[in-house]
């Protein structure tokens, strides 16, 4: 089960929304520049033959796995529940990651020291992908999306980020 803050924020008005999608690569060396999320790179992915619109891909901190995350409808809404589809890959072979004991998803706003208003669970599907339902970004600003994979005694993170703006 992923964890998140239960702090409540009310009164947000959903206005016209721009979601700037950012990717946080797990390669430590590539993270050190700049103050935003390391290796943050804007991706506008809506090619016919390319990945689905809004899909992000990131490598874990120790470069042992990659993940993709695709929000329903291709973007992250403000203050409305949404679902995401997640795929996990072995970073070396590129094949689906199968050798792990737990994978969790969470999203947080580090500048505000809180996360989403409730926990979400990453549920495996028969086709090898995972679904997380009822995610909620209830504030504008910089959200980090954390994908943590536990293998034995170790847990390793890959993360992406999203800037939600009016």
């Amino acid at each position: 089960m992923a964890s998140s803050s239960t702090r409540s924020v009310e009164g947000l008005v959903v206005g016209s929304l721009t979601a700037v999608v950012l990717i946080g690569c797990g390669d430590v060396d590539s993270r050190d520049a700049g103050d935003g999320p390391a290796a943050d790179t804007t991706t506008e992915t809506s090619h016919d033959d390319g990945p689905p619109k809004g899909q992000q891909r990131a490598t874990s901190s120790r470069s042992t796995f990659d993940f993709t995350i695709t929000p329903d409808h291709g973007s992250y809404p403000l203050n409305e529940p949404f679902g995401v589809t997640v795929e996990l890959f072995d970073h070396t072979t590129g094949e689906r990651l199968t050798e792990f004991s737990e994978a969790t998803i969470d999203a947080r706003m580090p500048a505000h020291k809180h996360g989403m208003k409730h926990d979400v669970e990453l549920v495996p599907r028969p086709d090898g992908t995972y679904r997380a339902e009822n995610m909620l970004f209830h504030m504008v600003g910089h959200w980090e999306i954390h994908l943590d994979v536990t293998r034995g005694a170790k847990v390793e993170r890959a993360q992406t980020s999203v800037n939600l703006e009016f």
């Binding site: 964890s3 993270r31 103050d35 390391a38 901190s61 580090p110 005694a153 993170r157 993360q159």
Partner: protein, 657 residues
């Protein structure tokens, strides 16, 4: 407190009726017993010819040995004064190493736990003693035991002994008649710190339940004697009804009185109304030594058999505050001492520096504070981590390390038994400002899930148990960077490689490791405390022991700092920092060249200095934990500046005026 069956019957009435009947409440300050040496636990009970003495477990210092002490005259005659009390008898001196819990029977038997010896002792009224339980994780074995309490029948028969088996995350009940143990690990207890028996008004049974403070989860858990019917209340936080690392519990009036250690207060909960807060008293002592109802990390709590006296132990201030009854169901509100606020962000006990950053730990808020040290004084720019279990959260930060110019952060967490690594975004040209997004949390490893080869474990009689991390650092070995972390449970240093796999165990003999730092000569320096005094062990880069030094100077060292030619060792019990210098002879151990300190608030005066680190410009920072501040010294050893709590830094600045 000893629960008597007939006394417990008094709590069988519905809670509402109890409130109406109760014309007084417990919480009126009536005096302070001082001149004690780190008192951690208390209980009322007979001692010799005195029917109601106050027994206290003292951790001791370099002058006073740890042990148990029975005090006379602790009653309403204190008259609001601070005084010493006459010692009636001592127990366990020379036997106990780190007493942590205490309970006294009506017959005068004293039961005491020891968190360093991982044992439960029984002292008879004539002074004989036996070890009832020793170290381990099986039934009838203990690991870092803390609170202990007794359940007696009206005829004085001892029915059960409950022990907060903190290191094993459980409570154990000992039946002295059958000599059997019952293990209770209800509701995923993490670090049970205190226990109390109490009655259950709902089913008419007397003293049929156990209440447990969980200091790691910041909750109070109650359950029946067989472990069933678990109820949990409270959570972490500073607000009324919330608790922070509760360290003591006792009962009277049908209420559970919880020593809310890191919120510096006592809260009275009603277990028969879902743990609703009935009332609270006590506020955080702001000024050094402030008391008379103001608290500073209160811990053990005891209420006498009549419910008329309460004693509260405060180890850091070497005192016990005593409370009696006052008019009214609850205390009168005092708007000037509301006792609200944010979590107290005390400085330390551990710290590390590298590049432009200084990292200090704030256990109360479960955060690591990052300071920018490019200027004269450290400036706080980020608070990392927070309370929780996910990656990037902590339950009990116990070690911190910065490396690679401040870009690599490692934090040890005794609550989750985990090491967490994070990258900090370093920019030497960065304008000084708040940087809430400074860290990327990368990975973590659970030390209790790693397999360290049995042939590397120390050859001792004591069993190998789940590691409990303390101080942490990195150093370079011929085979790459090593992460060294103190394992407080097995009293060794664990070495991990860069992918967090176990590499080796460094044994220190019978000494208990307390701090570590890379050696200026390569390798590792480890401070350790033993029964006979303190040591620093120097290992080379391959893990071979080179030297053991400081034995004739150190008592119970805590933290270490080192730079090219010099090593500093903090001594919390002596309020000193000892200084060693490396000689030209690389094969010789460092030499002791002096030290500084003493108890106080002025410059080079400390209250329990727990750690030290060296900034990039060569200045030394000493974490003056008990004084809620840090002191900075120039490379020449002169006082330079202070930082931390304003009231405690003021005396440092006053010397300029």
């Amino acid at each position: 407190m000893v629960i008597l069956v007939h006394a417990a019957l008094a709590v069988l009435a519905p809670a509402v009726e109890l409130q109406e009947e109760r014309a007084t409440h417990l919480g009126l300050y009536i005096g302070t017993i001082d001149a004690l040496v780190r008192p951690v636990a208390v209980d009322f009970g007979p001692a010799g010819d005195v029917d109601r003495a106050l027994w206290v477990a003292e951790r001791g210092d370099t002058v006073t040995e740890p042990g148990l002490r029975a005090l006379d005259g602790v009653d309403g005659s204190l008259g609001g004064k601070t005084t010493t009390a006459r010692t009636l008898v001592r127990r366990g001196v020379g036997t106990l190493a780190e007493p942590s819990g205490l309970a006294v029977s009506r017959a005068g038997e004293v039961w005491a736990t020891d968190s360093a010896l991982h044992s439960l002792f029984r002292f008879t009224a004539d002074g004989e003693h036996e070890v009832v339980a020793g170290m381990g994780s099986g039934a009838g074995e203990l690991l870092f035991p803390e609170g202990v309490t007794l359940l007696e029948s009206e005829d004085g028969t001892l029915r059960r002994v409950a022990v907060a088996d903190a290191g094993n995350g459980r409570v154990q009940l000992f039946d002295p008649g059958a000599e059997t143990w019952t293990v209770l690990d209800a509701d995923d207890l993490e670090w049970p710190s205190a226990v109390a028996f109490f009655g259950d008004a709902s089913d008419g049974s007397a003293a049929s339940r156990v209440a447990v403070c969980d200091a790691s989860r910041h909750k109070v858990v109650t359950f029946a004697l067989d472990g069933s019917d678990v109820q949990t209340f409270s959570d972490w936080g500073p607000f009324p009804s919330f608790v922070s690392s509760p360290g003591g519990i006792d009962t009277t009036d049908g209420l559970l009185f919880v020593s809310d250690t890191e919120n510096h207060r006592v809260q009275a909960f009603d277990p028969n109304r879902d743990g609703r807060l009935d009332y609270r008293f006590g506020v955080h002592a702001i000024r050094p030594g402030e008391g008379a109802g103001s608290f500073h990390y209160p811990r053990g709590i005891a209420i006498d058999a009549n419910g008329n006296l309460m004693a509260l132990a405060e180890p850091m201030d070497g005192r016990i505050q005593v409370f009696g009854r006052a008019e009214g169901h609850v205390p009168k509100e005092d708007p000037t001492r509301a006792g609200l606020g944010s979590p107290s962000a005390h400085l330390g006990p551990v710290a590390a520096a590298s590049g432009q950053f200084l990292a200090t730990v704030s256990p109360e808020s479960h955060r690591v504070t990052i300071h920018d040290v490019r200027g004269e004084r450290p400036v706080k720019i980020a608070e990392l981590f927070g309370f929780g279990r996910r990656l990037g959260a902590l339950r009990g930060p116990s070690g911190v390390w910065l490396a690679d110019g401040g870009s690599k952060l490692i934090v040890a967490d005794s609550g989750t038994r985990r090491l967490t690594r994070a990258t900090l975004r370093v920019d030497p040209d960065e304008t000084l400002r708040q940087r809430p997004e400074l860290a990327i949390y990368e990975d973590a490893v659970r030390l209790d899930a790693l397999e360290f080869p049995p042939d590397q474990r120390p050859d001792r009689e004591r069993p190998w148990v789940a590691p409990l991390p303390g101080a942490v650092c990195t150093y370079e070995s011929p085979n790459g960077t090593r992460i060294a972390v103190i394992d407080r449970a097995n009293e060794v240093v664990l070495l991990l490689d860069e992918v967090l796999d176990p590499v080796r165990v460094l044994s220190l003999g019978p000494a208990r490791p307390t701090g570590l730092v890379p050696s200026p000569r390569g390798g590792l320096l480890v401070a350790a405390a033993g029964r006979a005094g303190g040591h620093v062990f120097e290992f080379d880069a391959t893990g071979t022991l080179l030297h053991e030094f400081g034995t004739d100077v150190l008592a119970q060292p805590a933290g270490l700092a080192a730079r090219a030619d010099r090593i500093w060792v903090t001594e919390p019990l002596r309020d000193r920092v000892e200084v060693f210098e490396l000689t030209d002879d690389a094969a010789a151990p460092p030499e002791h060249v002096g030290g500084f300190g003493g108890r106080g608030l002025g410059r080079k005066r400390f209250h329990g200095p727990t750690d030290a680190c060296v900034l990039g410009d060569g200045r030394l920072i000493v974490i003056d934990h008990g004084n809620h501040r840090g002191q900075i010294f120039t490379p020449d050893g002169e006082f330079d500046a202070g930082f931390g709590s304003r009231l405690y830094v003021a005396p440092l600045r006053a010397e300029d005026e």
